[in-house]
Every structure is written in structure tokens, then in C-alpha cells.
């Protein structure tokens, strides 16, 4: 059995089991009530997509910079990176969003909740990315840096041309996993009243009193974002792969 056939078989079996489970739920289904709000789902999904893409790009950039801080010889830079990572990883995203929006953003006069939400989400994910990148950078043998110095590359060239390309390949699976988490974590942005996918589904639920019918599209909508990401990651991994 080929791999893709196996994937399809298992996916179908899981879907059937889920449908079977729904069948067992007592009461009537209200798909038509939820269907009326399809536009709401769609717009929420688009907002989530936009937020996620922006936060995703930003978090990779933050992760790289903070990873460099963590590995810096300057103790002040190292400490800054370390404290950033520990603070962010040690507190719930929910708290960061509330503090970020109601305290920090209002203090600096930033009022656009989409911007604040994206920034907080990127900062949150960036801390995890930083640790992933740092691990990848440290895993590159010292001999590669030696060789880069021997041919006369500057430190920056050595990082850009030799170390980073090798590290990226190493950390790709972990980064993809983190990006999938980021997309799902974006659902928390509803607490600062950003009208993203999850908030819209919750509203539909409160209008229609049809919980399962409101949340099932939510699961499917998130999978539509995360599955292509996983597929892309696997494809990139293959494209970059080589024995070391």
C-alpha cells in the first residue's frame, strides 16, 4: 500500500467514526440555521488567515533575531534574549494579550486591535522560535565556521552563506510545528474582541444554540490552514534534504 493511499484510508476511517459519533448525539441537527451564517464563518476565516500569515512572518524574524541574542558574546544581549524567552514562555498567551492590549498598547497609544493582536501573537511564537533556531545554529559543527573563516568570509557572510542555510534545514520540522500552533493560538485573539474565526463561530453558536454545528466548521477551517502548512513543510524538508 502506498503512503498516500494509507493516509487517505486512515483519514476516511477517522471521518466515518466522527460522523458515526455525531449520529449518536440525541436531538435534531440544525445545519440550516448555521448555514445562514456562512458569510460570518468565511470572513472570520479570512481574518484568521491574514492575522496568522502576518504573525507567522513576524515571528520567524523575531525568532531569528532573539536566537542571535541568545548566542551573542555580549552578556547584555544574551541576558535580553534569555529574559525575553523566559518571560514569554513562562506566562499564558491570554495574559500577554490582555496586558499587551489594555496596558502596553494603550500606554504607547496603539489602538488598532488587529495590529496589537498580531504583534503579541508574533512575540509569543517568536520566543519559541528563538529556542528552536538557537538549537539549530548550535548544532552546526564548529568545523564549518572554521572553514568559512579560512576562506576569508566575514562573520556575517559566514552566518548568511554557511551556518543559516544548514540550520534552517535542521529546524524546519520544528518550525512548521510551531507555525501550526501559532495558527491555532490565534483563536485566543477573540479575548481582545478581534473578530476572527473562533469568535465568529462562538457568536453563531449564541445565535443558533447549535453548538456542534457551529464548532464543526471551526475544526475544518483550522485544518484547511494547518494541513497545507504541514504539507509544505514536508515538501521543503525533502527539497533541502541531504546527508550530512
Amino acid at each position: 500500500m502506498s503512503r498516500s493511499v494509507a493516509h487517505l484510508t486512515v483519514a476516511t476511517a477517522v471521518t466515518l467514526l466522527l460522523i458515526l459519533a455525531c449520529w449518536q448525539v440525541p436531538g435534531d441537527w440544525n445545519w440550516s440555521g448555521v448555514w445562514e451564517y456562512r458569510q460570518k464563518f468565511f470572513f472570520g476565516w479570512i481574518v484568521t488567515l491574514g492575522l496568522s500569515v502576518a504573525a507567522l512572518i513576524l515571528s520567524v524574524a523575531i525568532g531569528l533575531v532573539v536566537a542571535l541574542f541568545l548566542g551573542a558574546r555580549n552578556p547584555l544581549l544574551e541576558a535580553t534574549g534569555r529574559i525575553y524567552v523566559e518571560l514569554i514562555r513562562g506566562t499564558p498567551l491570554l495574559v500577554q494579550l490582555l496586558l499587551g492590549f489594555y496596558v502596553i498598547a494603550s500606554a504607547v497609544g496603539l489602538e488598532n486591535r488587529f495590529v496589537v493582536g498580531t504583534l503579541v501573537l508574533a512575540a509569543f511564537s517568536g520566543a519559541y522560535m528563538a529556542e528552536i533556531f538557537r538549537g539549530g545554529l548550535n548544532a552546526i559543527p564548529k568545523t564549518q565556521r572554521d572553514s568559512a573563516r579560512a576562506i576569508g568570509l566575514t562573520r556575517w557572510q559566514s552566518f548568511r552563506l554557511v551556518i543559516l542555510p544548514q540550520a534552517v534545514r535542521l529546524v524546519l520540522p520544528a518550525i512548521a510545528g510551531q507555525l501550526v500552533s501559532l495558527i491555532k493560538d490565534s483563536s485566543l485573539l477573540s479575548v481582545i474582541a478581534i473578530s476572527e474565526f473562533t469568535l465568529n463561530a462562538r457568536e453563531v453558536n449564541s445565535f443558533t444554540y447549535s453548538t456542534l454545528e457551529s464548532y464543526a466548521p471551526l475544526a475544518i477551517g483550522y485544518l484547511m490552514l494547518t494541513l497545507p502548512l504541514s504539507a509544505a513543510s514536508r515538501w521543503l524538508e525533502k527539497a533541502f534534504s541531504y546527508e550530512r
Partner: protein, 260 residues
């Protein structure tokens, strides 16, 4: 033979060049371990200098300093009346004028052999990509590496990797080459192909400083040999005089062991 030298001119330094090396009171330590201990030596005007001696004696440490990769605690290194600087910026400029080959090849593992060769040309020496590709073509053919040029290091044998590494050091047309035990990680068959290549380079006028345990080869290619042990030069001179040195018991017993 004539054809060979024409092709080699593509990659080698000007034949008639020579080098003279003066080292004064060179000291290097890692932690509390003193690896080089006020090492001094003055060579004649030579094309090749070979460093031999027991493992842990300081040969590779010395070579890294000569190649501008490490800075000694104290002492000076002077090549042809130019003394090596101590700051990274001047050492980087120096490293751009020489070539260095490591024991474990250290090719960039994410790049093909050809990309490894052109990387320094494009990013350090300012050649265009096309110029660089043109420059490495002939040497790749000359050393029978052409059919492997698009493979990554992991797909090549140790001997092929090391020959590519030597080419990477050569295509920038360095003043001289530093080779740190280039065959120590290779099996005998591959050792031969790498040593042959070094000999071809020597015959075409490349100056080099070589650290090696291949004693017969050292004897063949060395204009001068320096025996390094306990962080000092224990014996130095033309190859034969060092191999037959019986004044220093440390040197004599080493050769008795390795040449047995």
C-alpha cells in the same frame, strides 16, 4: 608535461615564488595547558616546509596560527618580511591571500562540490558567478573531479572530498597553502590520490606548509622539515638532516618508531 603545466597555471601561484618563515618565541595555551612554548624557527628560502612530530606536540596548533585562524598568546610569525597581525580584521585579509586545508575536509555540506569551489571566488574575491564557474572548470577536469562536481560532500569519497577541499583552497590563487594532516582521515588508497595531487601542485610551484604523519611523503616533498614536540622545534633543517638526527633522543626515538 607541457600541457599539464599550461593547465596548472590556471590555478597555481607564480612558479618561481618562494617563502621564508621566521617564528619568534611563539606561545599558545588552552586553559592551563601550554601547547606551544616559546617556539622559534627560521627557515631558509623554500617552497615547502613540512611539520612532523608526535601527536599532541603542537603541530596543528602551530599551523592554525600560521594560517591566521588562531592568535597566539605571545610571539610573532613573519612570512616574507610581513608579520601577521593580531586583530581579526587584518587576519581576515591575510587569510584571503592564502589557502587552508583541514584534516576533515570541512567542505560546506549543504553545497555541491562546484558550489563549494566558487563560493570564495564570488563572495570573497569579487568574481562574477560566470567567471568563477569558468575558472574552476579546468582544475576540476585536471584532477578528474569533473563528473562529481554536482554532488554534495556526503555523496563523495573521503579522497574526493579532500581533493575538492584542496582545489577550493587553490582556485583563489593563494600565495601559499597550509595543509593540516590532509590524509589522516583517509584510508591508504585515498591517501595516495591526495598525496599525488599535493605533489603535482608542488611540481607546478605551489608553496606550502604541511603537517603530516606520512613520513616517506614528507621526505619526498619537503625542502625543509621541522620536528615539533613538547611545544618546541626539536629539530629543523633539510629533510635528510632531520630524519638522521641522532643528537636529540626524542627525535631519534620517534623516527625509529614510525619508520620501523
Amino acid at each position: 608535461m607541457a600541457r599539464k603545466s599550461i593547465q596548472l597555471r590556471e590555478i597555481t601561484s607564480t612558479p618561481s615564488d618562494t617563502m621564508q618563515l621566521i617564528i619568534k618565541e611563539l606561545t599558545q595555551a588552552f586553559g592551563s595547558t601550554r601547547v606551544l612554548d616559546k617556539l622559534s624557527v627560521e627557515t631558509g628560502t623554500v617552497n615547502s616546509l613540512v611539520l612532523v612530530g608526535p601527536s599532541g606536540g603542537g603541530k596543528s596548533t602551530l599551523l592554525r596560527i600560521l594560517a591566521g585562524l588562531d592568535t597566539p598568546i605571545s610571539g610573532t610569525v613573519t612570512f616574507d618580511e610581513t608579520t601577521l597581525g593580531r586583530d581579526e580584521a587584518s587576519l581576515r585579509l591575510y587569510r584571503r591571500t592564502i589557502g587552508t586545508v583541514f584534516q576533515s575536509y570541512n567542505l560546506f555540506s549543504h553545497l555541491s562540490a562546484r558550489e563549494n569551489l566558487i563560493l570564495p571566488l564570488v563572495h570573497v574575491h569579487g568574481l562574477s558567478r560566470d567567471e568563477s564557474l569558468a575558472r574552476v572548470e579546468e582544475p576540476l577536469k585536471r584532477f578528474h573531479l569533473h563528473e562529481h562536481a554536482d554532488k554534495r560532500p556526503a555523496e563523495l569519497s573521503g579522497g574526493q572530498n579532500q581533493r575538492i577541499a584542496i582545489l577550493r583552497a587553490m582556485v583563489v590563487r593563494p600565495k601559499r597553502l597550509f595543509l593540516d594532516e590532509p590524509t589522516s582521515a583517509l584510508d591508504p588508497e585515498m591517501t595516495a590520490e591526495v598525496l599525488d595531487m599535493i605533489e603535482v601542485l608542488k611540481d607546478s610551484g605551489t608553496d606550502f606548509v604541511l603537517v603530516t604523519h606520512a613520513m616517506n611523503f614528507a621526505r619526498r616533498v619537503a625542502d625543509e622539515i621541522a620536528f615539533i614536540g613538547d611545544g618546541k622545534v626539536l629539530s629543523h633543517g633539510p629533510a635528510e638532516s632531520v630524519f638522521e638526527n641522532t643528537d636529540n633522543t626524542r627525535v631519534a626515538s620517534f623516527f625509529k618508531q614510525v619508520l620501523r
